[in-house]
Amino acid sequence: MTPRKPVARLGLLLTLPALLLVAFALLLPLGLNLATAVRDPELAATLPRSAALLRQWDGIGLPEDAAFATLAEELHTALEDQRIGSLIARLNFERAGMRTLLLRTARAMPAAPASMALPALDPQWGDPATWHILRRASLGITPLYLLRALDLDLAADGAIIAQPAGQGVFLNLFARSFAIAVVVTGLCVLIGYPVAHAIAGLSPGWGRAAMALVLVPFWISILVRTTAWFILLQHDGPINAALLAFGLIDAPAQLMFTRFAVLLAMVHVLLPFIILPLVGVMRRIDRGLLRAAASLGAPAWRRFAFVYLPLTLPGVGAGALIVFMMAIGFYITPALLGGATDQMVSAAIADYVNGSLNWGMASALSVWLLVGCALIVSAAYYLAPSRR
C-alpha cells in the first residue's frame, strides 16, 4: 500500500486549485450572502455613541436623558457629514415614517434637556416603541429581513407577528414561484415522456437525427429562445399576424405579459432537460422484459403500467428534479414575457439588487429560496426508490 499514499496526496493536490476557485467564487460568497441576510451594521456605524448607550438601556419605559441628547447630536453631525442615508433607509424600511422623524430631528438641534425637547418636537420620541426599534437596530444582527421575507414582522416588544393583511407580498411570491415551477415541471414530464419514448423506439439512424433536433435547442442560449418568443408574441408579431390571417381572431390577442406566455416559453426552454435524460434511460431498458411480459399474456397497457413505467420512473424523477430546480430560480423568461403578477422570487431579488439596493432583503429572499430548494432536493433524495 505504500506507493498508493503519495498518489492520493497528489490527487488531492491536483483538486486544490479548483477547490480554491469554488471556495473563493462561490462558497465564501454564499456564506457572505447568509450573513448579509442578518447583518445590521447601519446604526452602530452612523451613530456609534448612541448605539452604545442604547445597548446598555434596560428597555423599560424610556431611555435616560443622555441617550436623547447623544442621539440628537449624532444625528445632526451625520446629516451635516451627509452619511445619514443608509441609516435612514434601514430604519424607514422597518417602519414607514422614520425618514421624516430622523430628518426633522437631525435638523432641529433641540435645546436641553433633550428628553423633554425631542418628544415636544415629535411625539414619537415619547413612544417607547420608537426607542425599541433603535435599540434592536444597535445590536448588529437582526432577524428583520428574514422575517419580512416571510411576511412576518417584529412587534415593539420584539415578538414575531404577522404583517397586516394585504401588506405581505412574499409568501404569495414564493407560492406563485412554486406553483409555476410545479406546472412547468408537470407539463415537461407529460410532454417529454411520450416524446422521449418515441425517440427511444426509433432506429439508430433516425434516433440520432431526432436527438440532434433536441440538442440544437438545448445548446442554443436560453435568452435566445426566450427572445424568440418575445418577438413571436408581440402585439403585431408573427403569431397574431398568422391568427388574424387565418381568421381565427378578429383583433390581435394580448399574448405578451401573460401567464400563458411565461408557461409556454418556460416549457419550451426546459423540455430538452427532461427529454435528454429520459431517452438515455429508455434506451437502456431491456426489451426482453417487455417481450417476456407479452408472452405471459400481459396486454399492452399492463406491460406499460407494470414493467415499462416503473423502470423509467427513476429517470422521470431525476429529469423532473432538474427541470423543477431550474424553473424555481427562473428569472429571465418571466421578466421578459410575464406581467407584474407572473414574476417569480428571482425577479424580487434582482429588483432589490439593481433597484432599491436593499441587500438585506435580497439576501433574505435568496436564503429562503435556497432553504426551499435544499428541502426539495433532500426530500427527492430520500423518496428516490433506488438509493445507492
Partner: protein
C-alpha cells in the same frame, strides 16, 4: 399507436425548433419592424450589428470572457478530474463540492457573487465575470473529463510509472493525449456556459462589460428592431458551432 406517438413527437420537436426558425427570416427582413411576411431580403440588420458600437463591444466582451473562462475552467477542472481519478481521498465529497455551482439556483449564486465581488472591487470588471463564469463552468469540465478517465485503464499509468516514467512524462505523453477529446468537450461546455450566461452578468457587469446576452436583454427594453433577431441568429450560430465541435469530439472517443 406508434404512428400517433411519432406524430406527437414530431410536432413537439417542431415546436422546439419553430421559434428559432421564425427568427431567422425576421433577421433578413428589409423592413424596419419584425413582422411576417418580410417585405424583402436584406442584410441591413446584420450590417447594423457589425457597425453598432454597443453590439461590437458586447461581442468582444463575450469572446474575451468566454476564452479566458474556458482557459481557467478547463485547466483547473482537468487537474481536479485527474486528481479524483487517480485516487484523491474522499472523492465523492470533492466531486460534490466541485459540482456545487450546478446545484445552487443561478439567481442565488449570482446574488452571492455580487455581494462578495462588490466588496473586493471585482464588479464592473471583466476579471470578475471571468472568475464567476469559471466557477459556473467548472463542474461541466470536471464531469466530462472524469467520464473521459473511465474510458481507459488507469493501470496504464502505473505501468508507465513502473517502467520509470516521471510524473510529468506520464501526464504529457499518456494522460493528456488519452484525455484530449474529453478535455476538448469540457472546454466547449465551459465556453458555452460563459457565452450564454446572463444573470451574473446582469448583477455584476457595468455597461462597459456588457456581454452579448446582456446587450440582447438591454435591447428588448428599447425600441425593437430586427437587429435583435440578427444578434439572436449570430449567437445561435456560435452555439451550433460549439454543438458541432462537441459532436465531433464525441465521435472520436
Amino acid at each position: 399507436m406508434k404512428l400517433i406517438s411519432r406524430l406527437f413527437a414530431s410536432l413537439i420537436l417542431l415546436f422546439m425548433l419553430a421559434p428559432l426558425l421564425v427568427v431567422l427570416p425576421l433577421s433578413f427582413s428589409a423592413g424596419p419592424s419584425m413582422t411576417l411576411p418580410i417585405p424583402g431580403l436584406s442584410l441591413r440588420w446584420y450590417q447594423d450589428f457589425f457597425t453598432g458600437a454597443r453590439w461590437l463591444l458586447a461581442a468582444r466582451n463575450s469572446l474575451i470572457v468566454g476564452t479566458l473562462t474556458t482557459l481557467v475552467a478547463t485547466s483547473l477542472g482537468t487537474l481536479a478530474a485527474i486528481g479524483i481519478a487517480i485516487g484523491a481521498p474522499r472523492a465523492r465529497l470533492l466531486l460534490a463540492a466541485l459540482c456545487l455551482p450546478v446545484v445552487v439556483p443561478s439567481v442565488i449564486a449570482a446574488l452571492a457573487i455580487y455581494l462578495a465581488f462588490i466588496r473586493v472591487g471585482l464588479t464592473n470588471s471583466l476579471a470578475g465575470l471571468v472568475l464567476a463564469h469559471s466557477v459556473l463552468g467548472l463542474p461541466y469540465v470536471v464531469l466530462t473529463v472524469l467520464a473521459g478517465t473511465k474510458q481507459f485503464d488507469l493501470g496504464l499509468l502505473r505501468a508507465a510509472a513502473s517502467l520509470g516514467a516521471s510524473r510529468f512524462i506520464i501526464l504529457r505523453r499518456i494522460l493528456l493525449p488519452l484525455l484530449a477529446p474529453a478535455i476538448g468537450a469540457g472546454a466547449l461546455f465551459a465556453f458555452a456556459i460563459s457565452f450564454d450566461e446572463l444573470i451574473v452578468a446582469l448583477f455584476i457587469a457595468g455597461p462597459e462589460q456588457f456581454t452579448l446576452p446582456r446587450q440582447m436583454l438591454a435591447s428588448t427594453r428599447e425600441f425593437l428592431s430586427p437587429t435583435l433577431a440578427a444578434a439572436a441568429v449570430l449567437v445561435s450560430l456560435v452555439s451550433l458551432a460549439l454543438l458541432g465541435g462537441f459532436a465531433l469530439l464525441q465521435r472520436r472517443r
